[in-house]
């Protein structure tokens, strides 16, 4: 009998992690039950052993992850997973990324990241011992599900029967791209991370946690998780743009949708939770928002893994769907039971006082985000419904989402601008006039300028819808940016008056005094910049041509001349490429080399896009292949205006979220007890 020490070590650590997680759940639960009325020394000690078992499960899962990476680096093709997802000549970084390139590995990554989050939570248990104990026990329950999958349904260390192969089948070529080394872990950090606020919310509800301190405790968790998910989604979009070679970045694929849904509900939660934190409102709503966000992350993993909907992300599919259905049902039942049992604890402490207030803008913001989420979910699942009702599947592609989601997106952009201008509780007519004059003027000016420079939907023929969308987006963006800038300037001028500092120093001080608020404004600014980039898509152009030596293709201001075309080969892939000189205004500005690769191990082709990127537009060139009759390459060129604005917008969002995570100079007290409603005629938010 042949021995496989590392795979067997990995399998053992997975079993050990499962046993430790079961111990954390059961003993943690028993300890919480026994200490529910009064302190009990023995039960507290039992709870402590459960906490330590949870920490140990992280160590066990780290060993399992290490064993799989080790097997990948040592080309251990006795492991079926390694055989199917790597090969000897694979680049070192991609050997590491093989950990999440298949189903078993990505489930292991899920479980390991969850245990890592659990590790941090359990180590920091002194923040609130009892609440953390609840959260730790709930997280252990989630972890057990993934460990059951890893041990019994999709074992990553399964041994390949028969003699050991000399080389593996290789990694999917689409995954052999630098962003693919960080996009999946980033996305998973986001998916998995929502387990923590979920566990805290469920735990706080179970123990009838007084006040809103649990929100304060989980605020950073939620924001960091949201940030990871944001980065993960946009890294995926950038990967699609750079690798798939169709000139776009978002195809409304079911798996893309699966990542967008928890992002939308998570964004809604980040907004509405402020109403609970500050005014004790929307408690039931917030609890269900975070429950839904967590359930949507599980649904996303189900969609990615089960193959119930057709997707280009068919990297890892199998029939583990039943496990996920069961888990989703159990989680939903637990949430529902806890909610109905403790719903009297979720009564609002205050009521909405005016339609024109920050609170109502949050309500509408939540409405829009949830409408967008519902539309995405509906579009993703409608093919299944259609097959059930009329026996035929339908396709829910970009035309559906663009028509339904664009108006929703524009309304959201509008609210992004007006929300921060409204005061809490109620806004007077005078305040509305004062706050909205400048943004209104900016929108008017932008509209006139845009029409003057030629953005005229009534003259755009068949493109009138996309041109109209762009016109409205640019106009709204001008208003929102002005609103954000005026908020900064108004606050800074108040600080300048108080401190005698100059405007710039005052602005820095203003931001440091309330990083959360001004970080949020910067995030809004980033979102607006992204919208501008998206709206630029209305003016995309493309051209395709067979290009021999010296042939030229012109698109917009650019002229591309073919210098040469050739082919090359290395151990991992064969490649065909063309060298194109790019001219602008008669002057050579760069040389691009679009490429087509053919990976030997997997016997599949892949596109390497050549890109010349500026703030104004992207020149996006792909090598489509050779015409078999003439043996000349076929080159397709896209001119995508304002594309970079999307990625810059994401960077601004990241910076804004990072700023919001930094503690303010003056810390706001946290509501720890229920208080009486306050009666005030009008209170401004400054």
């Amino acid at each position: 009998m042949q021995l496989h020490p590392m795979p067997e070590f990995g399998s053992f650590t997975l079993l050990l992690a499962l046993a430790l997680s079961v111990y954390t759940l059961v003993m943690g639960g028993v300890a919480l039950w026994r200490t529910r009325g009064a302190t009990d020394g023995a039960a507290s000690r039992l709870g402590e052993t459960a906490r330590r078992a949870g920490i140990a499960s992280f160590v066990a899962l780290s060993c399992a992850a290490f064993a799989l990476v080790w097997a990948s680096f040592t080309n251990d093709y006795s492991v079926s997973y390694i055989l199917h997802h790597t090969n000897r000549d694979l680049n070192t970084a991609y050997k590491f990324s093989a950990l999440w390139s298949g189903q078993e590995g990505s489930l292991l990554l899920w479980a390991w990241l969850l245990s890592a989050y659990g590790f941090v939570l359990r180590v920091r248990h002194k923040v609130d011992v009892r609440l953390t104990a609840f959260a730790s026990t709930i997280l252990a329950g989630v972890q057990i599900f993934f460990l059951l999958l890893l041990n019994f349904a999709a074992p990553p260390f399964a041994i390949q029967p028969g003699p050991v192969a000399l080389d593996g089948f290789g990694l999917n070529p689409l995954l052999q791209y630098p962003e693919m080394v960080i996009h999946p872990p980033m996305l998973y950090l986001g998916y998995v991370g929502f387990s923590v606020p979920f566990a805290f919310a469920l735990g706080a509800l179970m123990m009838r946690y007084p006040g809103e301190k649990w929100i304060h405790i989980t605020r950073r968790w939620t924001m960091v998780t949201w940030l990871f998910l944001t980065c993960g989604i946009f890294l995926g979009a950038h990967w699609a743009y750079s690798v798939l070679g169709w000139g776009g970045y978002w195809g409304w694929d079911p798996v893309e949708n699966a990542s967008l849904m928890p992002w939308l509900t998570g964004t809604a939660f980040l907004h509405s939770v402020m109403m609970q934190e500050k005014r004790g409102m929307m408690k039931s709503w917030n609890v269900w928002l975070i429950f839904s966000t967590f359930l949507l992350t599980i649904l996303g993993t189900l969609l990615t893994r089960s193959g119930i909907v057709s997707s280009v992300h068919a990297f890892a599919q199998s029939n583990i769907g039943d496990w996920f259905y069961g888990f989703i049902l159990i989680v939903f039942a637990v949430c529902l039971f806890t909610f109905f049992r403790q719903r009297d604890h979720l009564k609002s402490e205050n009521r909405l006082e005016s339609l024109v207030s920050r609170e109502s803008s949050f309500l509408f913001n939540n409405l829009i985000l949830l409408a967008a989420c519902f539309t995405v979910l509906w579009g993703t699942l409608f093919p299944i419904l259609s097959e059930y009702v009329q026996g035929t599947k339908v396709t829910m592609g970009a035309p559906f989402y663009n028509r339904v989601e664009l108006p929703v997106g524009l309304f959201l952009l509008f609210l992004t601008g007006i929300g921060p201008l409204l005061a809490w509780r109620s806004t007077s007519l005078r305040a509305i006039r004062r706050n909205f004059v400048l943004p209104g003027i900016a929108m008017g000016v932008a509209l006139v300028v845009l029409v003057a420079v030629g953005v005229r939907p009534w003259k755009a023929g068949d493109d009138w819808q996309s041109t109209l969308f762009s016109l409205v987006t640019f106009t709204l963006a001008a208003g929102v940016i002005t609103a954000i800038a005026s908020e900064f300037l108004r606050g800074a001028s108040v600080v300048a008056t108080q401190t005698g500092k100059n405007l710039l120093s005052s602005m820095v001080l203003l931001v440091r005094r309330n990083t959360r608020r001004y970080g949020g404004y910067i995030v809004h600014f980033g979102i607006v910049v992204m919208f501008i980039g998206i709206a630029g898509g209305a003016f995309n152009r493309s051209s395709e041509q067979e290009m021999g030596f010296g042939d030229a293709i012109t698109l917009g201001q650019y002229r591309l001349v073919c210098q040469s075309y050739s082919q090359d080969s290395n151990k991992n892939y064969d490649t065909e490429f063309a060298l194109l000189d790019v001219y602008k205004g008669g002057k050579k500005i760069t040389q691009l080399a679009p490429e087509r690769r053919f990976y030997q191990a997997s016997q599949t082709p892949s596109t390497m896009v050549a890109l010349h990127s500026t703030l104004e537009s992207d020149l996006y060139v792909i090598y489509e292949g050779k015409n078999p009759d003439t043996d000349k390459p076929i080159i397709k060129v896209f001119l995508n205006p304002l594309m970079n604005w999307i990625w810059i917008g994401v960077l601004i969002v990241v910076a804004g979220t990072g700023l919001a995570l930094v503690p303010s100079l003056t810390r706001a007290p946290v509501r720890i007890a229920v208080a009486e409603p306050v009666l005030v005629a009008e209170v401004h938010h400054a």
């Binding site: 070679g245 169709w246 000139g247 776009g248 195809g251 694929d253 402020m274 500050k278 057709s310 997707s311 280009v312 009521r351 909405l352 006082e353 005016s354 109502s360 309500l363 509408f364 409405l367 409408a371 519902f374 509906w378 579009g379 409608f382 259609s386 009702v389 009329q390 035929t392 599947k393 339908v394 396709t395 829910m396 592609g397 970009a398 035309p399 559906f400 339904v404 005061a423 809490w424 023929g461 068949d462 493109d463 309330n514 959360r516 608020r517 949020g520 082709p605 596109t607 792909i622 489509e624 292949g625 397709k636 007290p669 208080a675 306050v678 009666l679 005030v680 005629a681 209170v683 401004h684």
Partner: protein
């Protein structure tokens, strides 16, 4: 009134004719080509399928050219493709019947939710306890502190 309706229909026909005549053939080809999916399994929009040696998209594009040159309307062309390749060739459900549910449900949900939120706000604001009418509002220090705290963001 029948005559008014006839005038209305005539105007509609004129407007449509102007719009249709004004549409460039290439723009129309681009529009219709973006309303279909390549059936090779790539899941990409027909005119964006970039697979080298894709056996399906060149045939479909050629069929699209032929049908457009034949003078068919957009709907008849899309129906022809749906009949030949199945309903999944259409990038969005546009065949009527149950397909309409795909479009109506999100809009109906959004409208219902908007009305619901509006109703909720109205209900909440009506329930509000009115501010004291007997005298000027007296704001204590503790109250000021609480207002500041609650309105910080």
């Amino acid at each position: 009134m029948p005559s008014a309706r006839r005038w209305l229909l005539a105007c509609l026909v004129c407007v449509l004719a102007v719009v249709m005549l004004g549409a460039e053939p290439s723009a129309r080809f681009n529009k219709v080509g973006h309303e279909m999916i390549c059936t090779c399994g790539c899941g990409q929009v027909l005119l964006e399928c970039n697979h080298v040696g894709c056996p399906v998209s060149p045939v479909m594009i050629s069929e699209l050219h032929t049908l457009m040159d034949g003078g068919g309307s957009d709907t008849s062309i899309l129906n022809w493709f749906a009949a030949k390749y199945g309903a999944t060739v259409l990038a969005a459900p546009i065949r009527g019947g149950f397909d309409n549910v795909a479009w109506i449900a999100p809009i109906a949900t959004f409208l219902l939710a908007t009305v619901g939120v509006g109703f909720l706000i109205r209900m909440w604001t009506r329930r509000r306890v009115p501010a004291s009418a007997s005298g000027p509002l007296v704001v204590e220090d503790s109250l000021r502190d609480r207002i500041r705290r609650e309105t910080e963001y």
